[in-house]
Amino acid sequence: MATPVSSQALRADDASVSEARSAFSAAAAPLLAGGRVRGIGFKDVTVAYGGLVVLASLTLDVRPGEIVALIGPSGSGKTTALRAVAGFVRPTRGRITIGDRDVTDVAPYARNIGMVVQNYALFPHMRAEENVAFGLRARGVSHAVVRERVPECLRLVGMEAYAKRFPRELSGGQQQRVAIARALAIRPQVLLLDEPLSALDAQIRRSMLDELAKLHRDLPSLTVLYVTHDQTEALTLADHIGIMRDGKLVAFGASRTLYRHPPNRFSAEFLGRANLLPVTSLEPKAGGLAQVRFGEAVLAATNPHGLPQGSQCLLCVRPHDLRLREGEGTHNILAGIVESVQWQGDLHAIALNVQGHKLRLTCAPLGAPPEAGTPLALAFDPHDVTLVPETPPEKPGG
């Protein structure tokens, strides 16, 4: 039972967050254009190259001041969507708005956007401060403003000490910070980040992720469209996440909601690892729960999508929501045979075969981990697992 995904549908619960953000926005006013906070709107945007559709009827609203992450595998259309906002890709159909302004036919240089790309693209013949000043000078901003704003932006990203250096004299992380400062210097209406951390090594990426989160705390009224294939980046930074596949938006929602209650199989598998077990929905229970049958076992799970009784669906269990069965409890028990046990430093990963289905469990390091081939019983809290429709939504994007 497919549930069409709409970016509008999940908005009501975010009103309080928005109010709090607006209050913070005032504090960040010096670094953003006063009164120019804008959202991004995609209205039925389609992009095709010679008949090949790479982005299909995307309808999506990014509200002012929020971070929306578009994630998906290579070729899913997420970068095309971002490039359409930037103006480097012309939609074959549909409209793109920034705030109230329709920018579909506006040249990229007149859109007032900040953009940070994967390889930073700092101009190698300019020093860090000249890179940051580039957009201001291109717009004919006075020297006095340039002199004031360049150090301000470099300070924001902690790079004021490196102002005189050329890009080749900076590390990858430092270059990325300068690239962000450069994008912010023009006080953009929206900031587009195209896989900004993917060229960095794992340690610097984590550090930069923290920096980006801090940056958005400092500039809460900045609207950000963030394209990545890394679910951790998306979950860490984004208020809302859009999951794309084959040019279509297959899921959109608040990050936590989407993670806890994925609307389809692809979302469950792409956003965080999930165990998906085929079950049959039995009867509703109190508290939004439903009973399901998995083989001989009767289990309970949340049913946020209102799947009707008797429907074939998937039980979505995150590996960290499973725990080794303790005591003699009989509810929500999955029994299987251990296939492998891996110690990964801060956790143990255990793979089991449960009635012919592979199940993965992660837990804190065990003193006496089970051995492969031994039986093991697992339990879970019904509120931690969710039912997912077996059939993907037919009409994505809302």
Binding site: A86, G87, F88, A107, P108, Y109, A110, R111, N112, I113, G114, M115, V117, N119, A121, F123, P124, H125, F134, G135, A138, R139, F166, A179, R182, A183, I186, L192
Partner: protein
């Protein structure tokens, strides 16, 4: 490294040095020696003298050096502007017209220079455009012959330029001419300088077309060298050849220093 053993590397270097000496060193050495020769009746020249260089610094030869350098600079500058313009324009075309025009731009490099000279002579010897006997026809011939190389160099540089630079510049509000001036041209500067250097060197050495079309009063060094050789003044021709080579080398070294600085950035 293809050769790992020390003996092998020594052998490779010695072989390379011998080949270089044989192919480049001996001809240049002979011309250099001839340019100082009073007589050459034995294995080595005798009666060494600077008279040929003194002759070269005076009268017609000095003027020919000047003409060559002016022609080289003017034709190379024009070729650089037009070649860069063409390379920039073709970048944004669809694949098919781009390929067709690409081939057309390279045609002059495939045609013998004598044929280019002949074609210009035929084309511009009758009204309404009568250029025969003017300096302009020499400049045009040099421009036609070197423009393909200039275009090729600049196009190669532009092809290596990641599109992100321009896109980021554009997103920051840079209009097309500002992007060209502040981003594209500085980034392809090493290729522009290389293109100019190659064009200048080719122009300085051009003879085939020039000898067919040069007017009185606009004789280039290669034509002068050819005339001297034809009259049997080998030593004077050798001195002029050395001046031609050295002046070309001097300009190329200067340009390569600028190119290195641009590349380091």
């Amino acid at each position: 490294m293809l050769v790992w053993s020390k003996a092998g590397r020594v052998l490779a270097w010695v072989t390379a040095a011998l080949l270089f000496a044989l192919i480049y060193g001996v001809p240049i050495g002979v011309i250099a020696l001839a340019s100082f020769s009073g007589q050459w009746n034995d294995v080595l020249p005798s009666h060494l003298t600077l008279a040929h260089y003194i002759n070269a610094m005076r009268g017609d030869s000095a003027e020919q050096t000047q003409v060559s350098i002016i022609t080289g600079f003017a034709a190379s500058a024009a070729a650089l502007i037009c070649g860069s313009w063409a390379a920039l324009a073709l970048r944004n075309l669809m694949r098919l017209p781009r390929r067709v025009l690409d081939v057309i731009f390279f045609v002059p490099s495939a045609v013998p220079s004598v044929s280019v000279g002949l074609a210009l002579l035929v084309a511009f010897s009758q009204p309404p455009v009568l250029l025969n006997g003017t300096r302009a026809i020499v400049l045009i011939a040099h421009f036609v012959l070197i423009s393909a190389f200039t275009y090729g160099n600049v196009a190669a540089g532009l092809a290596r330029l990641p599109p992100e630079y321009e896109q980021v510049a554009e997103s920051l509000g840079a209009r097309p001419f500002y992007r060209l001036r502040r981003v594209i041209l500085p980034l392809v500067a090493p290729y522009l300088i290389a293109a100019f250097s190659l064009s200048f060197a080719l122009s300085m050495g051009e003879l085939g077309a020039t000898v067919m079309i040069y007017p009185p009063g606009w004789v280039t060094l290669p034509v002068g060298i050819f005339s001297l050789s034809d009259r049997g003044a080998i030593f004077d021709a050798s001195a002029l050849t050395m001046i031609l080579a050295l002046s070309t080398l001097l300009v190329l070294v200067g340009l390569s220093r600028i190119s290195s600085r641009a590349a380091v950035r």
